[in-house]
C-alpha cells in the first residue's frame, strides 16, 4: 500500500503546534489525529541531518483532526474532535504515549459532536477555556477537571480565543463575524465588535468570519474574511487596516510588530502603522498557525518557521538569508525558517518565534 501511504502524506494538514515547556521540542498535530514530536535542538543545530528533522515520536492522539494544542508546565493538552486530552511531556519524550486524562465539555445533544477549535490557558485561575463548534466558551478547572461555566453569545462556531493579560478578560472570534469580549469574573459579555459591519475592513466576497485574533493591552488585531485590522478596544474603532488581500488564519503581537499568516506562502511582518515590514516566504501554500518559542532556556532553538509542502521554499526570492530549516515531513521536505529580516531590524538574536503552519501535506509522517 505504498501508493496509499504516499497519498495520505500528500493530503496531510498540520492544524496545530506547540512548543514544550523546556523549549526544546515541538509538538505538531495533523488532520489524521496524530501528534508528532520534533526535537528543535537537533533539527536547528548546525550539524542537523535529514534524519534529525524527522519526528522523534508519532502517536495517534485523536480520531479526528487535532485542531488545537497548549502546554502547561508538565502537560500537553490537545483537542479537536470534541474532546480535550492531556499528555505528560515527560512521558511523551520517553516515547511512552498514554493519555493522562480526557474530558468532554457538556454539549447539547447534536447530530455531530462539535469540534474544539481553540484552547486557552488562564494561568491566574488555573483554568482552561475551550471553544469551538457549539458556539460557547467552556471553562474547565484544571485542578478538578470539572467544567465550571459556559459563555453563550456567538451565533456560529468560534475560531479563536485571546486572553487580555491584565484584566481577566477573554476575546473570542467566530464564524459569525463578531469579536466578543468576556469578563471572566462575572461571566458576562462585555463588548461586541461586529467587524464585518465596518465598511473599512469588510470584504463580503470573503465572508464574515473572524479567523484569528490577538490582543495587547488596549489593542486588538483580528482578521479572516474581513481584512486584517488593528482595533482600539476601548473605543471599538479600527485604527489600522493592513493591506493584505488573502484571508489571514493566524496573527500575533511580537514586540512592536504584528506577525500574520494565512492563505499564501508567506509569514507577514507588519508595523503597527500598517506598513508591511517584511515577508518571509515558505513552502506551504497556506499557513494555519504560528507559534512563538519564548523559552530563554534554549537559545539555540529560538526561531522556527515551519512550512508545509509545495516547493521547499525559494531562498532566492528574498534577498535575506535563510537561517534555519525545520522539516516536519518524513519525505525530508524542508520547512524553512527565515530570520534574516529580523537581523536587520536590530534584534539581538534569531526571531524568538516559532512560526509554524498548516496545510502541509508532508509535515507529519505516518507512523
Amino acid at each position: 500500500m505504498e501508493v496509499f501511504q504516499a497519498l495520505q502524506r500528500l493530503h496531510m494538514i498540520i492544524f496545530s503546534q506547540n512548543v514544550s515547556p523546556c523549549g526544546k521540542f515541538l509538538a505538531a498535530g495533523n488532520n489524521y489525529g496524530q501528534i508528532a514530536i520534533f526535537s528543535l535542538s537537533a533539527a536547528l543545530s548546525s550539524e542537523a541531518k535529514e534524519e534529525s528533522k524527522k519526528p522523534m515520536v508519532t502517536f495517534q492522539a485523536h480520531d479526528g483532526p487535532v485542531y488545537s494544542m497548549v502546554s502547561t508546565d508538565r502537560h500537553l493538552l490537545s483537542a479537536g474532535d470534541g474532546e480535550v486530552k492531556a499528555w505528560l511531556w515527560a512521558e511523551i519524550l520517553k516515547k511512552g504515549c498514554k493519555e493522562l486524562w480526557r474530558r468532554q465539555p457538556p454539549y447539547r445533544t447534536s447530530l455531530e459532536v462539535p469540534e474544539i477549535n481553540a484552547l486557552l490557558l488562564v494561568p491566574k485561575e488555573n483554568s482552561l477555556i475551550l471553544a469551538g463548534g457549539d458556539c460557547q466558551l467552556h471553562t474547565m478547572d484544571l485542578e478538578t477537571g470539572t467544567f465550571t461555566r459556559a459563555l453563550w453569545g456567538h451565533t456560529d462556531y468560534i475560531h479563536c480565543l485571546a486572553l487580555r493579560e491584565r484584566s481577566p478578560e477573554v476575546l473570542s472570534g467566530g464564524e459569525d463575524g463578531a469579536v466578543r469580549l468576556w469578563d471572566l469574573r462575572t461571566a458576562k459579555e462585555v463588548q461586541t465588535i461586529e467587524v464585518y459591519k465596518h465598511e473599512e475592513c469588510s470584504r463580503p466576497h470573503n465572508g464574515r468570519w473572524i479567523g484569528c485574533l490577538a490582543t495587547d493591552s488596549d489593542w486588538m488585531v483580528c482578521g479572516g474574511g474581513p481584512a486584517l485590522t488593528l482595533w482600539h478596544l476601548r473605543s471599538s474603532t479600527p485604527t489600522t487596516i493592513f493591506p493584505m488581500r488573502a484571508p489571514q488564519k493566524h496573527v500575533t503581537f511580537y514586540q512592536d510588530l504584528i506577525l500574520s499568516a494565512g492563505q499564501g506562502r508567506c509569514v507577514n511582518q507588519w508595523q503597527l502603522s500598517g506598513e508591511l515590514k517584511a515577508q518571509v516566504p515558505g513552502s506551504s501554500p497556506g499557513l494555519l498557525s504560528l507559534s512563538l518559542n519564548q523559552q530563554p532556556a534554549a537559545p539555540e532553538c529560538k526561531v522556527g518557521s515551519a512550512r508545509g509542502s509545495g516547493d521547499p521554499g525559494r531562498p532566492g526570492c528574498v534577498d535575506r538569508s535563510v537561517t534555519t530549516l525545520l522539516p516536519l515531513g518524513p519525505d525530508s521536505r524542508r520547512q524553512q525558517l527565515q530570520g534574516g529580516c529580523l537581523y536587520q531590524s536590530g534584534l539581538p538574536s534569531f526571531l524568538p518565534v516559532l512560526l509554524t503552519s498548516s496545510n502541509t501535506p508532508t509535515s507529519i509522517s505516518g507512523v
Binding site: 504516499a6 455531530e112 469540534e115 463548534g133
Partner: protein, 694 residues
C-alpha cells in the same frame, strides 16, 4: 789388543800380502777356502756391534800409525827407517783386519737382502689371500640382500583379515594351533583359504551366467507375447472410439496431447503440466463431475511437432537427424553471409528464436469472456514470453479512451507490482544482447510477447537477481506455488479491465454508470454532470500545472494510464486529471482537481479543493462498493460530482452582488463550515441523506 790377537788367529793372517792382482786371486782362493772355513757360518756367530767397534779401533790405529810414520819421515832420523818398517807391518795387519771386516759386511748385506725378499714374498701371498676373501664376502652380501629383497606374488593378493580368517575358514585349513605362532604357516593357510574361496566364487559366477541366460530367454518369450498384444489393443481402441465420443470422455485426445507435450522444452512442459493439473483440480472442486469441455481453464499445445522433433533432441532421436539439420543450417548460414549487417541481423534472429511449440491457455471468466494466453519459449535466451488476447462473449463497442485497456501490450502490465514485462528477467541475457548489438528486449516485445516475471515462475524458471547463472532448470514446485495466485490475478485483471472497458463506454457519453448496489453512496439528486472523459498522454499529464504534487511524489510512472475528466455544473467547470494504475482496482485511481469558477482554484490556493481530492483519493475505500470493487472509478467520478455540488452550493453568498445565488443550496447540511480551515461538509450520510463534516 785382544781382537788383534783373535785376528791373528784367523787363517787370513797366513796369507801373504801382495799386489792387487794377487789379492784377487787370493780372494777366489779364500772363496774356495770358505767352503772350509765357512765364513758365512762365521758371520752368524759374530756380533755386528763388536765388528763395528773393531772397525773403529782399527781405523784409529791406522791413523795413529800413519801420523807416526809421517812424523818419523819428516824428522828423517836414522833409525826412522826401522821404525817406519815396523809401523808398516803393523799397518798391514790392520788392513787385513779391515778386509776381513769388509767381507763380512758384504755377506751380512746379502743375507739381509735375502731375508727381506723372503719376507716380502710372504706378505704378498697373504695380501692376495685377503683380497680373495674380501671379494667373496662382498659377493655373499649381495646374494643376501637379493634374497632379502625378494617379493612374493602372494603379497599382492588381498587377503581376508586375520579375525575373519580364523572365524570363517574350516579348521583343516586354518590349523589354528600351528599357524597361531608361525606367521609363515599362517600366511600359507590364509592363501589356501583364499584359493578355496575363489574357487567357490568362480563356481557361483558360472551359475549366475547360466541363470541369466535362462531369464533372457524368458524375457524374449514375453516380449514376443506383448508385441503380439499391441495390434489387438489397437483394434480394441479403434472399436471404443465411438463410445468415447458418445460419453464425452476425450481420453484419446488427452493422450495425444501428452504425446505432443513430450516434445515441449522443459519450461513449457512444466507450465503445461502445472496448468493442466490446476485446471483439472479446479474443475474437480467446482463439480464432482469428471472434467468436461466447459472447464474454466483449458490448455492446448500449438505448433509443429516435427519441427520440434528436429530441433529439440529427444533421447530416442538418432544422431543422424541432428547432424543433418546441423549441416543444413550451416549451408544456409553460408549462403547468407555476404555482409556483416545481414550476418548480425541473422544472429539476432537466431538469438530471439522461439521454440516451434507453444502452449495456449484459455482462461474463462464468469461472464464468458476469455483470456487467451500464448506462452512461448525463447530457446537461446532461456526465458518465456506471453501474448495475451481478450475475447468477450458479446461484441464490445470499443470506446476511444479504452484503447489501451484490452490491448495485448498492456492488459497484463504490472500484474505483480513493478512487473512491466519490458526487460528480460534473465540477467545472463544482457551479455548475449551485447554480443549481437541488441540494446534492450523492449523493442522486440511486441513481436515476441512479454517476458513477465510471473510467466517465468509459472514455467518454473527462477533467475537470481544479481549474477547471471547459466544453469537455470525448470522447477515444478516453483511453478505450482505460483499457479493459483497468478491464475486468480489473471482473472481479476481481465475482469477489472472488462469492467473498466464497460465503464469507459458510458463515461465517454457523459454517463456515470453507477450500479444499483452502489447507489446508497450518493444522494438521489446529483446536478453536476460529467461532460468529457478522454485519455491523455503521460507527458501531457506531467505538464499540467495542478498535478505537480503527484508527479513529485513519484506516483506518475509511465506504466500508468492517464485520463482527463471534465465535470460541469452551470458556469463551474471542474477538471480532473486521473492516474489509473495498471493494478486497478486494488490500487485506486488518483485524482487531481482544478476548478474554474470565479477564478482558478486548485489545491494550492483552496483548502476545500484539497479536501475534495483527499475525499476521492484517500477515502476511496468507502467507494469501493461490493467486492471485487470494479466499480471504484465510476463511484469516484460520481462522488466527484457530488462533491462539486456541495462545494458550489455551500459557497458563501456575496451579499454585495445583485441577484439570486447561482447555485441555491439544495443539499441538507448540518453546518456549512467547520474547523480552522473552514471545511465544507463533504461527507454523505446514507440513510438520512444529509451532509456532515468528516
Amino acid at each position: 789388543m785382544s781382537s788383534e790377537s783373535s785376528k791373528k788367529r784367523k787363517p787370513k793372517v797366513i796369507r801373504s800380502d801382495g799386489a792387487p792382482a794377487e789379492g784377487k786371486r787370493n780372494r777366489s782362493d779364500t772363496e774356495q777356502e770358505g767352503k772350509y772355513y765357512s765364513e758365512e757360518a762365521e758371520v752368524d756367530l759374530r756380533d755386528p756391534g763388536r765388528d763395528y767397534e773393531l772397525y773403529k779401533y782399527t781405523c784409529q790405529e791406522l791413523q795413529r800409525l800413519m801420523a807416526e810414520i809421517q812424523d818419523l819421515k819428516s824428522r828423517g832420523g836414522k833409525d826412522a827407517a826401522v821404525e817406519i818398517e815396523d809401523r808398516r807391518i803393523q799397518s798391514c795387519v790392520h788392513f787385513m783386519t779391515l778386509k776381513k771386516l769388509n767381507r763380512l759386511a758384504h755377506i751380512r748385506l746379502k743375507k739381509g737382502r735375502d731375508q727381506t725378499h723372503e719376507a716380502k714374498q710372504k706378505v704378498d701371498a697373504y695380501h692376495l689371500q685377503l683380497q680373495n676373501l674380501l671379494y667373496e664376502v662382498m659377493h655373499l652380501q649381495k646374494e643376501i640382500t637379493k634374497c632379502l629383497e625378494f617379493k612374493s606374488k602372494h603379497e599382492e593378493i588381498d587377503l581376508v583379515s586375520l579375525e575373519e580368517f580364523y572365524k570363517e575358514a574350516p579348521p583343516d585349513i586354518s590349523k589354528a594351533e600351528v599357524t597361531m605362532g608361525d606367521p609363515h604357516q599362517q600366511t600359507l593357510a590364509r592363501l589356501d583359504w583364499e584359493l578355496e574361496q575363489r574357487k567357490r566364487l568362480a563356481e557361483k559366477y558360472r551359475e549366475c551366467l547360466s541363470n541369466k541366460e535362462k531369464i533372457l530367454k524368458e524375457i524374449e518369450v514375453k516380449k514376443e507375447y506383448l508385441s503380439s498384444l499391441q495390434p489387438r489393443l489397437n483394434s480394441i481402441m479403434q472399436a471404443s472410439l465411438p463410445v468415447q465420443e458418445y460419453l464425452f470422455m476425450p481420453f484419446d485426445q488427452a493422450h495425444k496431447q501428452y504425446e505432443t507435450a513430450r516434445h515441449l522444452p522443459p519450461p513449457l512442459y512444466v507450465l503445461f503440466v502445472q496448468t493442466t493439473a490446476y485446471g483439472q483440480a479446479c474443475a474437480h472442486m467446482k463439480s464432482s463431475q469428471p472434467p468436461r469441455q466447459d472447464k474454466t481453464l483449458s490448455v492446448a499445445i500449438e505448433g509443429s511437432v516435427d519441427e520440434a522433433k528436429a530441433l529439440f533432441k529427444p533421447p530416442e532421436d538418432s544422431q543422424d537427424d541432428e547432424s543433418d539439420s546441423d549441416a543444413e543450417e550451416e549451408q544456409t548460414t553460408k549462403r547468407r553471409r555476404p555482409t556483416l549487417g545481414v550476418q548480425l541481423d541473422d544472429k539476432r534472429k537466431e538469438m530471439l528464436k522461439r521454440h516451434p511449440l507453444s502452449v495456449m491457455l484459455d482462461l474463462k471468466c464468469k461472464d464468458d469472456s476469455v483470456l487467451h494466453l500464448t506462452f512461448y519459449y525463447l530457446m537461446n535466451l532461456n526465458i518465456m514470453t506471453v501474448k495475451a488476447k481478450v475475447t468477450t462473449a458479446t461484441e464490445l463497442i470499443t470506446p476511444i479512451s479504452a484503447g489501451d485497456l484490452l490491448s495485448p501490450d498492456s492488459v497484463l502490465s504490472c500484474l505483480y507490482p513493478g512487473d512491466h514485462g519490458k526487460k528480460t528477467p534473465n540477467p545472463a541475457n544482457q551479455y548475449q544482447f551485447d554480443k549481437v548489438g541488441i540494446l534492450t528486449l523492449r523493442d522486440y516485445v511486441l513481436d515476441l510477447g512479454h517476458p513477465y516475471l510471473w510467466v517465468q515462475k509459472l514455467g518454473g524458471l527462477h533467475f537470481p537477481k544479481e549474477q547471471p547463472q547459466h544453469t537455470v532448470i525448470a522447477d515444478h514446485s516453483l511453478s505450482a506455488s505460483h499457479m493459483e495466485t497468478t491464475m486468480k490475478l489473471l482473472k481479476t485483471r481481465v475482469q477489472s479491465r472488462l469492467a473498466l472497458h464497460k465503464q469507459f463506454a458510458s463515461l465517454e457519453h457523459g454517463i456515470v454508470p453507477v450500479t444499483s448496489d452502489c447507489q446508497y453512496l450518493f444522494p438521489a439528486k446529483v446536478v453536476s454532470r460529467l461532460v468529457k472523459w478522454v485519455t491523455i498522454a503521460h507527458e501531457d499529464y506531467t505538464e499540467l500545472h495542478f498535478t505537480k504534487d503527484i508527479v513529485e511524489a513519484g506516483l506518475a510512472g509511465d506504466t500508468n494510464l492517464y485520463y482527463m475528466a471534465l465535470v460541469e455544473r452551470g458556469t463551474a467547470k471542474l477538471q480532473a486529471a486521473v492516474v489509473l494504475n495498471p493494478g486497478y482496482s486494488s490500487i485506486p485511481p488518483i485524482f487531481q482537481l482544478c476548478l474554474n469558477w470565479k477564478g482558478e482554484k486548485t489545491n494550492n490556493n483552496d483548502d476545500n479543493i484539497r479536501a475534495m481530492e483527499s475525499e476521492v483519493n484517500v477515502c476511496y475505500k468507502e467507494l469501493c462498493g461490493p467486492q471485487p470493487s470494479h466499480q471504484l472509478l465510476t463511484n469516484q467520478l460520481q462522488r466527484l460530482c457530488v462533491l462539486l455540488d456541495v462545494y458550489l452550493e455551500t459557497e458563501s453568498h456575496d451579499d454585495s452582488v445583485e441577484g439570486p445565488k447561482e447555485f441555491p443550496q439544495e443539499k441538507m447540511c448540518l453546518r456549512l463550515f467547520r474547523g480552522p480551515s473552514r471545511m465544507k461538509p463533504f461527507k454523505y450520510n446514507h440513510p438520512q441523506g444529509f451532509f456532515s463534516h468528516r
